[in-house]
């Protein structure tokens, strides 16, 4: 019994990603067609070349019909998957396993979310039937618990920590400003974010991910076949997923300064990929910055720095695009936007561009010493979450 992984067995040969923004002029169908077409074009294949599809959407449609109908897929299997905000990554994970198993030669993972048709602000999932005793609290409020907890545990002044997480938003906005597909293209100084009204705990609206519509897609084949389609495929080194017990909510030992599900998923992914020291092995990471304190804690949970030091590394600029450990070079959920079902694949899209040197002169990170990338994608809340981690690289071995 073990998580063996499928290191170097599957390769991404093409990807597509729509702009993430308020697409008042595009529906779910349009977004899916646009992302799928971009991915087909990227791989140089037609829709009929793809043997099976995994569609990730949290709430923009039910069943495979959500994809097979707009794309007019004839006789193809389409599976709709949902795993909270990690839905897009889950689609890629399933498509990759299907190809690795030999069941199919070519599979597509596509994620979509059409959020802005709800008429409400923010993300609002339709609840299942319930007994009326569930918590009534926004995700922002749950994640806002991290700030005072972290400040207390590591003896950091709360006002200083508030500025630290605003710096994370500032960095992600700076990255997003350079990215033509990102929802927010304007820089936002941390000082200004700190002056804004709090909406949950000490978090302001600018500590929360952007709410956007969008879609992203990937086409995967067995690694041995990759060069038939693509000169520079991106190999999957690790795919890990942990769904938590929810124990953090009721365990008095849980202190809201770490997300154990993320730490476990990271450790599993590093085992699969054969990584001992992620900080020296990884050239970049796309992580789930749903709220600014989330990104800070993830730096420690994913082993990019020691416990209690992420806040210092943020201030030192470690996670800037030109820093030692670039994080969310595309702007992250914060500036790129967060169409739930698409976000995981959007993160992989940034790795697809960066690790193959395709991000463009103004955005391209340095790959001279390291060429592996990591994607971290979570869903849920502190104490009860699902977490995905993948590792990708442009070379076998």
């Amino acid at each position: 019994m073990a998580s063996h992984g499928i290191k170097d067995q599957v390769a991404i040969i093409g990807m597509g990603c729509t702009q993430f923004r308020e697409h008042w002029d595009k529906g779910t169908d349009d977004l899916l067609i646009d992302a799928a077409t971009a991915a087909f074009d990227s791989a140089g294949v037609a829709k009929n070349d793809v043997d099976a599809f995994w569609l990730g959407t949290a709430s923009s449609g039910m069943s495979g019909l959500t994809l097979s109908q707009p794309l007019k897929l004839e006789g193809k299997p389409v599976t709709r998957v949902e795993n909270f905000c990690a839905t897009g990554s889950e689609a890629l994970r399933q498509a990759s396993y299907a190809v690795a198993s030999g069941a199919y030669d070519m599979a597509m993972a596509i994620g979509v979310e059409k959020i802005k048709d709800s008429g409400y602000q923010g993300l609002n999932a339709a609840p299942a039937s319930h007994d009326g005793t569930k918590r009534n609290l926004t995700a922002a409020a749950m994640y806002s618990l991290v700030l005072p907890a972290y400040a207390a545990r590591y003896g950091v002044d709360e006002d200083e920590l508030r500025m630290v997480v605003a710096k994370i938003a500032e960095k992600n906005h700076r990255n997003g400003a350079l990215n033509p597909l990102a929802q927010f293209r304007r820089e936002m100084p941390a000082e200004k974010i700190c002056e804004m009204a709090s909406v949950a705990g000490r978090l302001s609206v600018f500590d929360c991910s952007g709410v956007a519509d969008g879609s992203a897609a990937a086409i995967v084949v067995r690694a041995a076949d990759a060069h038939k389609y693509c000169e520079d495929p991106l190999y999957i080194k690790a795919l890990s997923f942990v769904s938590g017990t929810g124990g953090g909510l009721i365990d008095p030992d849980y202190d809201y300064t770490t997300f154990p599900e993320c730490e476990m998923a990271g450790a599993d992914a590093y085992r699969q990929a054969g990584i001992d020291d992620p900080r020296s092995a990884l050239a970049m990471a796309e992580v789930h910055d749903c709220f600014t304190p989330t990104e800070m804690v993830l730096m420690e949970d994913l082993g990019f720095c020691e416990r209690g030091t992420a806040w210092k590394e943020v201030l030192a600029g470690t996670f800037e695009r030109n820093g030692d450990m670039p994080i969310n070079t595309d702007g992250g959920l914060k500036a790129f936007g967060h169409p739930v079902g698409a976000s995981g694949l959007r993160m992989h899209y940034e790795c697809w561009l960066q690790l193959r040197g395709q991000a463009g002169d103004d955005r391209q990170i340095d790959l001279s010493n390291r060429n592996l990338g990591l994607v971290h994608n979570l869903g849920g809340y502190p104490g009860e979450m699902v977490s995905f981690v993948s590792v990708l690289g442009p070379e076998l071995g």
Partner: protein, 470 residues
Amino acid sequence: MRGVISFGGYVPYRRLDRSAIAAVMGRGGGRGTRSVASYDEDTTTMGAEAARLALRPVDGEPRALWFATADPAYLEKTNATAIHAALRLDASAGALDFGGAVRSGIGALRTALGAIGPTLVVTADMRGGLPTGADEANGGDGAAAFLIGTEDDGPVVAELLGSASATEEFVDRWRQPGSPSTGQWEERFGETRYGPLADQAWKEALSAAGIGADDVDVAVVTGSHGRAVKRVAGRLGVARVADDLAAAVGNTGTAHPGLVLANELEQAEPGQTIAVVMLADGAEVLILRATEALAAYASALPVADQISAGAEVSYATFLQWRDMIRAQPPNRPEPTRPSSSAAARAQDWKYGFVGSRGTESGTLHLPPARVSIRPEDELDAMDPAPMADVGATVVTFTIDRLVYSVSPPVVFAVVDFDGGGRLPVELTDVDPDAVRIGQRVEMTFRRLYEAEGIYNYFWKARPTRSSSGD
């Protein structure tokens, strides 16, 4: 001899300063304060709180629960059943509503004093009226509960000496279902009816008790006709008329005779004789005598302590809570109604706040779970863990200004229970600025919201008020 075994009065935390009414409206109001049920309270939840306080000092379990209010949360559906569930009474203990009329509270109490078996009488009311009206200013919200029985059911702290009733049909105060205000006939007419009815019932009750008016130490006189109540109180010929709590609480209608009586019992000496006179569509009189057992009786949370612990609510907020004005809600989906079948399956959790505890690990699970978060517990190796009366401490908290609420912002805390166990839970009866880590809290039964005509009852935590939750 049948009498009161235990009792509890409940005064909600919020107070409206009556002078705030004229400050906004230019008229109305008056001096002093009135009690105000929070936006997440109704007569059912206040009744449940009073009942919890009443049952806390005693071991016995009622064989019947009678609930009386003039402001029922539901018609058609029995409201007493939610209180029954919150108290975790046995299914064989019947739960009945005494419906509609202000007189039904004292009526239920008098009927229980003549009934068989330990009976828990719960009375509650929310009084109000249109802005600037006398009912708005002089009304109050509150509840009172009495466990009635004989010595077989527990020490009787106040025994019934006698009672009487006088009834006549006349239209003095009336309200149709759903109406926000109560009508009143020209005041002097009612006065002419209540006087003779009160005289008749008073005389009969004294005769039944075999005492004279001068043997009565204190009389609790309440009713729905202010002038008649004053007039009658002045001519009973008793040593003292009880403080009617008008200055701080107001007239809590159906609950008022019970609330004022509870306050008097909390200050009474053994051997004292206490009369209760209620004027509503006639007159009801009870004459009780405090027994020696009262000396050893300790209220879980005396009415006087609750009155002094109150905190202000603004008139604007009061009007919103009473649906007199509607503020713009956050642009978020409204909550959905709870599933009746899911709620029924979770009854002990939802209404009784019962979790489960692993038999090996002792780890508390809220809500109750079949599989433990600790590996040492076998499947289904769980014991029920009733947590409603267990105190807790705030570990951390946050203020949510985004989430939908009838009265934003939502104050939310992670709390650790005494003896182990944790729950992230909404706080109530608290100002956002006053929450702090380390604060002591206790659980309270509340109405979380209403959706599609269904009220969603569950528990919140509030800063500790009762001595046992400390």
